[in-house]
Amino acid sequence: MKKSGIFAIVLLIKLMLGFSGAIAQSPRVVSLGGSVTEIVYALGAEQQLVGADQSSLYPLAAQQLPSVGYYRRLPVEGVASLKPTMVIASEHAGPPQVIEQLRTLQINVVRVSDLPTLDSLQQRVRDIARALDQVSQGEVVLRDFDQALKRAKSVEVIPFKAITVVMRGGKLLGAGRDTAAGVVLHEAGLINALSAQESYRPLSAEAISALAPEVIIVTRGTVESLGSLQALKDSPILKYTPAVANNRILVLDDLLAQGFGLRLPQAVHDIRWELSRAPIQ
């Protein structure tokens, strides 16, 4: 009896050791890029994360992870110090030299597509799911995404001319065609009045009066830095637009308006829902 008790304890210890050994070998992942991190969480693989970058803001828990800073300026030693077995990096992460150095440190670096298009998003989800050995979960996430987007797009909306406005460095900038915000507008059934422009550019008062946007989408952070929505309406650049005259101004979460990730359906839904409720002039 006593002997078997000792045996049981030894067995238990062995099991625990074996188990902790398994934990030590479980993947340690550093995720680089806001949308990449969001997908890792959506796949339910967040317990593997040991670090992320500055742009990994959603979900909130991601902000608790050690941050390696701006993902286009990765510190190679900083990333290595987290002892990752795998780095999942947006294609924008860099510099390229650091990516190469990480590979020489026996870290498996997985690059994923990160463009503001639906194809890129799908590819991203599949690649991350494969890297994390969560292929079936990846398909579930994609199916949920498609359904949510379809549901969001079922809300009818008039194809207004719209602009997305953000405040940066004390200036109001408008989102051009290749930006995530531009694609959000498109999916929301609106026409980006600034589609002639690439990237984010300062708004010009004359150009805006010529374009006459009927809807203005503005980020919450922008409204906060201006002080109030009224301040935005009073800004000389936007004051004389049909959007302000008809009060068709939507305030959207910064990440929703500018990010292109799994929460796209929510952004699309919010925009369509708000516009469908607004009285048609």
Binding site: G51, A80, S81, P95, Q101, L105
Partner: protein, 341 residues
């Protein structure tokens, strides 16, 4: 303020200059060892000492030490030495305590080159580096030719200021056309960093920089003569106009590639020669090597701090030098003005 007076006035009486150099060199050695041994990636000091003595070190740690940390520390030493000496040379050349490579338009030219490379070609270190070097050289020569038209050295300074303003204006125009990612790249480039260090780049930067440093070191007599004034230098048998030409070219050749590789690292070229002169006097026989060594110490330690202070992220070294160098310089100025009262 006549620097030649400083020589007698401020030089600390107890310390002979050669032993000052020796002291600085020892500090640099300690700083280098320290910077090699510590960083975001933990390697036990005992393991490193053991490795130097012949025992094994795991491959990843060895890689971090040899291929990531070591080139970075070497780049810091070279950058600090070049910026420190370039500052000392410029201050003697213009007989102006505010002179540094940025003043003659070199930094603006190099920045403009880098910005052009980032926006037009989308980056790549070699392209950014090459453009920055050419921009720095072009701006410096332009400043020189404009400055030559007026007979005294303020002409060059004023030309440098004008070129700086043109350079930054042109940069603003380019920045308006940059996209978001490019903007961030530019911002970071302006903050300076040693993170791009690798052996392939150091293989040409090291001999290039040390050759120029060695040549500058032999020029201390000329710089001492220039310090007296151009007319005095002329009567001592030197040709001031030719000398100005020579030193500006040398500084552009030395600083251009450095700025290209590291971005803007402020305050070192300005502060280090001042410190050295306060300590060792104004004789360039000592000011030049001491500025080089002190600059190397400053950047080695600043980079080490930048690497560990917000690990696993990193603080750009240019921010560290400005945040620490600025207050230190103010303290020095206050102390100096009190001593004069």
């Amino acid at each position: 303020m006549h620097p030649s007076n400083n020589h007698i006035f401020i030089k600390s009486p107890g310390l002979a200059t050669p032993s000052g150099l020796l002291l600085l060199s020892s500090v640099l050695l300690v700083a280098i060892v320290w910077a090699l041994m510590s960083g975001a990636f933990q390697i036990r000091p005992m393991d490193m000492v053991g490795w130097v003595l012949g025992s094994q070190l795991d491959e990843v740690s060895r890689n971090v030490l040899l291929n990531i940390r070591a080139p970075r520390v070497l780049l810091g030493v070279i950058t600090g030495a070049v910026l420190g000496m370039a500052g000392a040379v410029m201050q003697a050349l213009f007989r102006n305590p505010l002179a540094e490579p940025g003043l003659v338009g070199l930094s603006a030219g190099a920045s403009l080159g880098a910005v052009l490379a980032i926006v037009l070609t989308g980056g790549g270190l070699l392209l950014i580096g090459g453009f920055a070097f050419l921009g720095g050289l072009a701006a410096t020569f332009l400043a020189y030719f404009l400055g030559k038209r007026s007979s005294h050295q303020s002409g060059l300074l004023l030309a440098g200021i004008a070129i700086n303003s043109i350079g930054f204006g042109a940069m603003g125009v380019i920045i308006i056309h940059a996209n978001d990612a490019q903007l961030r790249d530019l911002t970071f480039w302006n903050m300076g960093s040693l993170a791009s260090a690798d052996w392939a780049m150091l293989a040409w930067l090291t001999p290039w920089s040390f050759a120029l440093i060695a040549f500058l070191l032999t020029q201390w007599r000329v710089l001492n003569a220039l310090l007296l004034g151009e007319r005095e230098a002329y009567h001592l048998g030197f040709h001031p106009v030719r000398l100005r030409w020579r030193f500006i070219t040398l500084v552009a050749l030395a600083v251009g590639p450095i700025v290209a590789v590291t971005g803007g690292i402020g305050f070192v070229g300005l502060v280090i020669p001042h410190l050295v002169r306060l300590w060792l006097g104004a004789d360039h026989r000592w000011v030049l090597p001491a500025s080089g060594i002190a600059g190397a110490i400053a950047l080695t330690l600043a980079d080490w701090l930048g690497r560990i202070v917000i690990a696993p992220s990193e603080l750009p070294i240019g921010l560290v030098t400005c945040l620490l160098g600025g207050p230190f310089f103010i303290w020095l100025l206050l102390k100096g003005s009190r001593a004069h009262e």
